[in-house]
Amino acid sequence: MPDVMVEVRGLAKTYRRADGSEVQAVRGIDLDIYKGEIFSMLGPNGAGKTTTISMISGLLAPTAGRATIGGFSITTQGMQAKKLLGVVPQEIALYPTLSARQNLEFFGRMYGMGGRELQKNVDEVLDFTDLKERQKDRVETFSGGMKRRVNIGVGLLHKPQLVYMDEPTVGVDPQSRRRILDTVIRLREERQMTVLYTTHLMEEAQELSNRVGIVDHGQMIALGTVGELIQKVGEDDRLILNIGEQSVPDSVRTRLLQEVPGVSTIEFAPPPPTNGNEHPANSQLTILAQRGRRALPVIIQIVNEARIDILSVEVREPDLEAVFLQLTGRALRD
């Protein structure tokens, strides 16, 4: 049994809106995060990831349940618990008019550092996040990726054993994303840190994680290693049919489910809205099917008979996306 770093039991949060209505953002989450692992919470926007992180970092008071960090209760032993923890919020929580170094120095002081120790740690973080050259520039002049790196740096300043990273790659270019993912892996490999990582991108969860928890509507609907989770969907292939601007009548769905052996789930995604001058994106018909490759000719035939033209077909091996699709009937992307 590995050492538990974070223990969460029955955690729940109900927000009360100004108009009196209630939002059940988190509905009873149980979770153990082990020392030295990267644990990912994978779920779409609004699933309750940020709310969960806020509760287990001492920002939000839970409506129910409890959480401990290194054995310290986050609600009753907040100071001790928070000392073990670094947080990288989803927002870029920095002072835009201060330089990278000034931001790091200020937050370092908030962790009780000062003098030589502070300067040394700030230098190390600037090295680690590759920001040494721009350390004296105001954060507001930085690119999105650089801001993200400063944001991460603040969470690492006091060399915590545990760091929460809430969607740290949102809104950055692919190169910066690669860099951030490499940084996360280095935290585990070089520093033996425990990382709680949240994302709505299954590729990230799949690449980084020792274990993944899939969250939806405030609940942990599946939890395990990537392999274990994919096992759950069995050998299902995911077939993605691009069908231009056409829509799919219900009769086609019914026929596919009834006539094609092995089809378990059918999902239709209309094209995302465009900005006018772009080409309209394709509608997608996604089908989960056992031995999907072999069923493909029958599927194409049924679709064609409904006078729907297929522009292209993509066949994907089982992945976390498929797991989510099977568990919820919806795609992970918003």
Binding site: A61, G78, V87, P89, E91, I92, R109, M110
Partner: protein, 420 residues
């Protein structure tokens, strides 16, 4: 505690880096303070104007000399009704200035003092007899106003020792009705006045010195003092409000940026975070006062005799506004609300409290209403310190009121402040 100081320092740095902050806290207050100070200095609404009603039952040449000497002793005095110009006496056209009218004006604090010159005053003086002047004031007996000092000096010059000792004063709530029931009563009063005046004289010759030092052309009552003595504390106080109320917007922005949430997730006591923010905005307010009063000093404003008292008034007012701001911050949800609330509050509390023009010139009921504004209490204290040679003791009531409001508001703010 150290973390609290670092939070305050960091926020100050962020505040001063804000584009336009120098315009808002240096340039704008300076321009308005100079413009209004110059304007007031040139007109008759300066708070240095102390109205003294005169009921002249005598009309001799000697009486005229006496009034002339009073005017000469302190050019801040306006003798009513004879020196009324542009309504500076605030006389009611429908009503002559009778003894009753004078009493009422005194009670309503339209005038600071009233002087009754009895019939035969001049004749008595000339014949070497004792002549009595009746001086009434709404000032506390312990701190005689400049009007009394002027009258005393004038009386000394006109009648010498004979008259000087006849000047009396009484307190507004307790002054006796005009007219006495019989002669015994009158002479008893005269004796009382005599004794009182003698002691005053004997105890406090310095007051005469003061009166002489503020004779015409002395810098203390120049138009600089009259104008900037009003506009420096007035505009200073208004811009302290504007500066401190920037916090409404800054707090919202810190939550939006998540820097506030980041602090809450760090190992810091929540109260220290709030205390750091409060300390920061209090300091910003004091810096604003420092700038406006500093420039006032440069252009020749006399800050009075008690700098410690002045500092304490600034501290109390700034604390009060900081407490008000943090109380309101628990209600403000959007930038638009922050903006309109701070403008509305600053632009109503300032004129209501006499930051734009002295409350002296508004009707008594407006003056009373004005005292729901903390600005009014601060301005009362500044007037005492800058115009009436007040000391810490004389401004303690105002400081007390400001600190009491502060305590109540901070109590609410600390309990209602949200960290989530």
């Amino acid at each position: 505690m150290r973390k609290m100081l670092y939070i305050a320092l960091n926020d100050l740095r962020v505040f001063f880096r804000e584009p336009g902050s120098l315009v808002a806290i240096v340039l704008l207050p300076t321009i308005l303070m100079l413009a209004i100070g110059y304007g007031i200095g040139q007109t008759a609404i300066a708070p240095t104007q102390v109205r003294v009603d005169v009921l002249n039952n005598d009309g001799s040449a000697l009486t005229e000399r006496l009034l002339g000497q009073i005017r000469a002793a302190n050019n801040a005095l306006v003798l009513c009704p004879m020196d009324d110009q542009d309504g500076s006496c605030r006389l009611d056209a429908a009503q002559p200035l009778t003894a009753e009218a004078i009493s009422r004006r005194l009670l309503d604090k339209v005038t600071q003092a009233a002087l009754e010159i009895p019939a035969g005053f001049g004749a008595a003086l000339e014949s070497g007899q004792t002549a009595t002047l009746i001086y009434r004031s709404n000032n506390n007996a312990a701190s005689p106003g400049i009007a009394l000092q002027a009258v005393q000096a004038a009386a000394q010059q006109v009648g010498g020792a004979q008259v000087a000792a006849q000047v009396g004063l009484s307190v507004a709530e307790a002054y006796p009705p005009v007219g006495f029931s019989d002669d015994a009563d009158r002479s008893a009063f005269r004796q009382g006045v005599y004794d009182r005046a003698t002691t005053l004289w004997a105890d406090n010759p310095v007051r005469v010195d003061y009166v002489q030092s503020t004779a015409p052309n002395a810098p203390a009552t120049s138009s600089t003092q009259a104008g900037f003595g009003q506009s420096v504390p007035g505009m200073g106080s208004m811009f302290v409000m504007f500066t401190v109320m920037t916090a409404l917007y800054a707090i919202l922005r810190e939550r939006r940026n998540w820097t506030f949430q980041r602090l809450v997730m760090m190992p810091i006591d929540r109260r220290s975070i709030l205390a750091g923010k409060i300390l920061m905005w209090f300091t910003a307010g004091m810096i604003e006062y420092g700038i406006v009063f500093g420039i006032g000093l440069l252009i020749g404003l006399n800050l009075g005799n008690d700098l410690l008292a002045l500092l304490l008034v600034m501290v109390s007012f700034t604390l009060c506004i900081t407490a008000l701001t943090f109380t309101i911050s628990t209600l403000v949800k959007t930038d638009a609300q922050a903006n309109s609330t701070s403008n509305l509050l600053a632009l109503s509390l300032a004129p209501l409290g006499g930051a734009w023009w002295p409350l002296e010139i508004v009707p008594p009921f407006m003056r009373s209403i004005g005292h729901i504004s903390p600005v009014a209490w601060a301005m009362d204290a500044y007037n005492k310190l800058l115009f009436e040679q007040g000391t810490l003791v004389t401004v303690l009531p105002e400081i007390g009121v400001l600190l009491a409001i502060t305590a109540v508001l901070f109590f609410i703010a600390v309990r209602r402040f949200k960290y989530e």
